[in-house]
Amino acid sequence: MAPYNDCMITELGHFALILAFGVAVLQMIIPMIGAHRRLPGWMAMAEPAAAAQCALIALSFGALMWAFINSDFSLRLVVENSHSAKPMLYKISGTWGNHEGSMLLWVLIVSLFGAMVALFGGNLPPSLRARVLSVQAAIAVAFLAFILLTSNPFLRLATPPFDGQDLNPLLQDPGLAFHPPFLYLGYVGLSMSFSFAVAALIEGRVDAAWGRWVRPWTLAAWVFLTIGIALGSWWAYYELGWGGFWFWDPVENASFMPWLLATALLHSAIVVEKRESLKSWTILLAILAFGFSLIGTFIVRSGLLTSVHAFATDPERGVFILAIMAVFMGGALLLFALRAGVMEARGVFGLVSRESALVVNNLLLAVACFVVFVGTMWPLVAEMFFDRKLSVGPPFFNAAFTPFMVALGLVMPIGSVMPWKRAGFMRALRPLRYVFVLAIALAGFAFVVQSGRSLLGPMGLFLGAWLVAGTAVELWQRSRSDWRRLGRLPRADWGKATAHAGLGVTIAGIAGLTAWAVDDIRVAKVDAPFTVGAYTLTLNGVEETRGPNYLATIADVTLSKDGDKIAQMFPEKRIYPVAQMPTTEAAIHYNFARDVYVVIGDEQLGGGWAVRTYIKPMTIWIWIGCGMMALGGILSLTDRRFRVAAGARKTPIAQPAE
């Protein structure tokens, strides 16, 4: 229970939220009028308003977190999602582990990005900055209204209970504690690209400078989204107990679609910046990428497509978000239809060129996103229009989506070495010929060794090697085959190389895991060794213990190979009495070549325990690759071109590309 003198903090948080709504309304209207009528004072109002709005929402969020930390059970939300015996980390993460709190986090991040533009946007023209902040405020207004009207986190209970109902135990995990904030930073970060796009449409002008301004924001959002998705998939891998890492669940797709479009946007914005082409397409992508973030929010919040994550099944909320989506998407697309004609392309380039390669990249990513979208929505469409109740699951997505990623992987190194403007196809390909031979050799080797299994593994290895080695060759070429120049290449080059190689590593990991995993299900008796693949496992014993807010059954398993002990493993299963829910805690022995994944099941009637063992080759590569992609994004963000107040460029602007 919170001490009595702190009880006001909740009301302060509630009040700050209402005040933030008022500030956001002003920030939405005044700078927009100011930009239209060229009134500097009105435009300048946007920055302090953005800062104030962010501070107020942060205050409100802090107040909610305070209530969770102190287990203030006079708050309905805390009662429903917390428990006094819960570890501190999950009391904190409980703040956003529920519908109301996560929406507050959502809007906090919207305002945070607005405040960042106010802070770092000094080099933007005043009218563009005012309009961007105004659009950003409009998004905040919509979601603040949503929170205050349908999902107020600060509602009190007349008779507070003694203790809470606990957070969903599956969410009580370090990986998942930080999964939503990253994901939201990504989702919501795309609101910045959206605001830039809408502001540019209102302004009626998109030029190279716009391309340069919008890129770092998109890149930052993309980095967060990448980390968020990777954390979520890693969590699913170790927590759900059978070692799957991606399930094509509607909620996963909801985060994946914005990622695909953000990736496309990153690349098309390069063409806008360097070559003043693809302008209207880039604007459209920026609008759609945020649109898919809204769709994602809608899918998760409405519970329309039921899935593990849909904790809010409330039609009123769903309709509200649908209305927000209709207003923002409808408005932005209408504006786009009216203004897109104004933005003519200026750059002229040949059919074989970097520009064309980037168009192919965008095409593949956008169509892949479309496939995921259709697959996600199809059960709904089929039920509404064709009266068929059906499922669209992983087998569909694996078959319909994977070809696009394979094509993307094949084209990527070729596009990367392609010069801007005009290129000779064969000449551009020449440096890649050794890479091709290497990748083929590797795939062939894998094919021979695996003897008669599916082509998936060798193909994945081929793509992985093709991407990683192709990237290395490109960097080498860029340094004009001089290793001293390699260190002096712009960070953006290193960032690009790291991210591209990361995709290769992830693809190889996914293929390796999918093609070569081995599993074993058996009743293991204590002290009776059994073999799985090249490994020997021995169940030494099982004991029962208590954790802070759960009861656990822990097995002690020795993992060895060729008679040498490798590790002691402790797979666990838990029951959370308050939430009445069991969870599995698999024991995983990670290394670069494979994971050994052990799950303990039930005690069997005839003695012994059900034990499931999986050998999963190259699994860690999936997340190493994701980490490389995120790192690549961060490297690019620290490139001197993006740094605020960086010195003048060394190369004159007339040279279009490096």
């Binding site: 169509v367 064709f386 059906l390 059954t553």
Partner: protein
């Protein structure tokens, strides 16, 4: 308290997906069963195949499937048997009949369409001349350069 813990642990028991007692003795048959069950949905779960699910219904379906396979059904016959009983909702990979053609063709058709538009755009860019290439006047260019150099 001890008794309470014991009861709670009992409650926690249905935790595993495929149980050891379900596994068929013939490895080839078991491999087929695993393969098929990855494509069948656990009807009471949210987005899990019966191969992954802990629910008792999923277990029943796994046993039923194995029964059919042991009785000599082909993969297709076994799947059809289950679809006849539970409807096409049970299939994680939708069939290609009727309206589902739209679903399966959505990607390829969109690729063709987008590819056509994209190719048209690229060709127009490669044929365009630099005539309309200076919509900015000198002042604007200077301003642009100023902004870009910051």
């Amino acid at each position: 308290m001890k008794r309470l813990i014991f009861i709670l642990l009992l409650l926690a028991s249905p935790l595993a997906a495929v149980e050891p007692d379900e596994v068929l003795s013939d490895p080839a048959l078991e491999a087929r069963a695993r393969e098929i069950s990855q494509g069948l949905r656990c009807l009471v779960c949210r987005n899990e195949s019966i191969d992954e699910s802990n629910a008792s219904l999923a277990r029943d379906l796994r046993l039923l499937l194995r029964e059919r396979l042991v009785a000599g059904d082909s993969d297709q016959q076994a799947v059809d048997f289950i679809v006849n009983r539970y409807g096409e909702y049970v299939l994680l990979k939708p069939d290609t009949r009727g309206a589902n053609r739209l679903l399966w063709l959505a990607g390829p058709l969109m690729l063709l369409l987008a590819g056509g538009v994209g190719f048209g755009y690229l060709r127009s860019r490669s044929r365009a001349t630099a005539t309309g290439d200076a919509p900015l006047n000198a002042d604007e260019e200077a301003r642009l350069r100023d902004i870009l150099d910051r």
